[in-house]
């Protein structure tokens, strides 16, 4: 009987650990890839004319971002390999490729400045508030029992 309790406790612990793992690896983050001119501290980084970013391992199309633009992507888990390809103007050839390992910060640094990254600035990702428009309002369940409706 004792033995069973110990084993049950172990199973619960294992499940808790597994849950933590699931949370870590399954949590979705919305990342904004920014290809604009940016100034961090005293240094300014100019935007790149045209890039293609993809996150290693996550299926889904890579984002292609023009200079001065930004785009969003939802990813799962915190550890990622970010692949940046710099494209030539004719959108055909890749002129340079670089891969960067990064971990999404706990505060959820979601604004990724590619120019800053490529220049090696440590503060290339920051947190900004996303203004996600809430879906159209729908109300709480309507009264179902007509037998109890207002008499007038």
């Amino acid at each position: 009987m004792k033995r069973q309790y110990v084993i049950d406790a172990l199973i619960v612990l294992a499940l808790v650990a597994f849950s933590v793992f699931l949370y870590q690896s399954g949590k979705g983050y919305t990342l904004i890839f920014d290809n604009r001119d940016i100034t961090i501290g005293d240094t300014s980084y100019p935007a790149l004319p045209y890039i293609r970013v993809s996150l290693g391992g996550v299926s889904g199309r890579p984002l292609e971002i023009m200079g001065g633009d930004r785009d969003m992507m939802t990813v799962m888990g915190r550890k990622h390999v970010l692949k940046v390809e710099i494209l030539s103007d004719d959108e055909e050839t890749v002129t340079a490729t670089s891969e960067h390992r990064f971990v999404i910060r706990y505060d959820g640094g979601n604004l990724l400045s590619i120019p800053a990254l490529l220049s090696g600035d440590a503060e290339w990702n920051r947190r900004i508030e996303l203004n996600v428009a809430p879906p159209k309002e729908d109300e709480a369940p309507k009264e179902e029992m007509p037998g109890t409706g207002n008499p007038k």
């Binding site: 699931l22 949370y23 690896s25 399954g26 799962m76 809430p134 729908d138 369940p141």
Partner: protein
């Protein structure tokens, strides 16, 4: 004891009256609906994957003689609460689904235990009690989800919460885990997508039920289901066994609801569970199960026949009478009617059996 062919046929007809009616109904309605075979097969495959697990969760209480577990909606509620949490945390994909299952399990166990204890106080009227318990807990669920979430239980994601600042919206978007199990690996056969992973889970679950019925606990449940007094006199803990059967059913219904909703992709926060219960029970009965006897083939046959009728009838109604609404009402009527007929047949048969048992006490006159 030998039966004549005639007796065997009539026995078969009585036993499978409901499925036979449904087959005939489908044969009549399918051509009317003008759906292509391809479309119907695809629909049936999808619905089989979506609903089978929920229906399977009903089997164990039937084994334990507690009838149709209308209390399975409690499990569905637990699953939905898990889904609300993972949606709020934005945990996605198969991880999200598994996490929802894990966090809703303790809740489902608790609700199942509570349901079991209450049903033990209402022996002999388990079905109507679990039915009302479902309604009652629906009120409690609303209290928690509509007033507790966002007030007492913090919810961060504004997309989930009503504009007044607390309470979950009528519709919860489950885009994060949509089709995550179905698409884990699926393949095409002649243009029909088969969600293989979901079917693997369902298959594993069928194996579990078969295995479970061969354990000591399964044997005890069958014994309790047939005669509580005898079981008690041989020392089987009757009440505990009954509670366990309801707990298992509730937990499985919770998983079933999660699998169901990952396929649908959106959740009607306040009435998904009620529909889950009604459709699952109707499907099982359509498959030829009764209140006291249900097998795994009943489940699959039932899901297919019930949903065939469900898909086909609005269009059939539209082309037949020019009123799609009529078909809608017809399928609602059929869902309830099937449950009513199955309950009547069961009660009637039990009545007759009791009479026959009484007569067998009489010696040769």
């Amino acid at each position: 004891m030998k039966y004549t062919l005639r007796e065997q046929i009539s026995h078969f007809l009585v036993q499978y009256a409901v499925p036979i009616i449904f087959v005939l109904l489908s044969v009549f309605a399918i051509p009317l609906s003008r759906f292509s075979t391809q479309y119907l097969v695809q629909e049936m495959v999808a619905r089989l994957a979506r609903d089978s697990f929920l229906v399977l969760s009903l089997l164990i209480p039937i084994m334990a003689g507690m009838g149709l577990n209308f209390g399975m909606v409690l499990g569905a509620m637990a699953g939905e609460i898990g889904l609300i949490f993972i949606t709020d945390w934005n945990v996605m994909g198969i991880q999200g689904m598994l996490l929802a299952m894990i966090i809703s399990t303790p809740l489902a166990i608790f609700l199942g235990w509570m349901c079991g204890v209450i049903l033990n106080k209402a022996k002999g009227r388990e079905m109507v009690t679990s039915f009302i318990l479902g309604f009652f807990m629906n009120g409690v669920y609303q209290l928690v989800v509509l007033y507790g979430f966002g007030n007492i239980i913090p919810i961060k994601n504004p997309a989930l919460v009503l504009s007044r600042g607390f309470g979950i919206r009528n519709v919860t978007n489950l885009a994060g885990i949509r089709h995550c199990l179905d698409d884990l690996f699926s393949f095409n056969v002649m243009g029909i997508t088969i969600p293989a992973a979901t079917f693997l889970v369902i298959g594993a679950f069928c194996l579990f039920i078969t295995w479970f019925s061969r354990t000591k606990l399964g044997q005890d449940m069958r014994a309790v289901g047939q005669d509580q007094e005898v079981s008690d006199s041989t020392g089987i803990p009757v009440e505990r066994t009954r509670i366990i059967s309801i707990v298992i059913s509730t937990v499985l219904a919770c998983y079933g609801q999660i699998i169901f909703l990952q396929n649908i992709g959106t959740m009607n926060t306040y009435n998904s569970h009620e529909q889950a219960g009604m459709f699952a029970i109707a499907s099982l009965l359509v498959g030829g199960a009764s209140v006291s006897r249900a097998t795994i083939p009943n489940v699959f046959l039932g899901v297919i026949l019930f949903h065939l009728m469900f898909v086909v009838s609005p269009m059939a109604g539209k082309y037949l009478i020019g009123e799609a609404q009529l078909g809608e009402f017809f399928r609602v009527f059929v869902s309830y009617g099937v449950i009513a007929i199955a309950l009547v047949l069961y009660s009637w048969r039990r009545h007759k059996e009791r009479e026959r048992a009484r007569r067998s006490l009489r010696g040769a006159a």
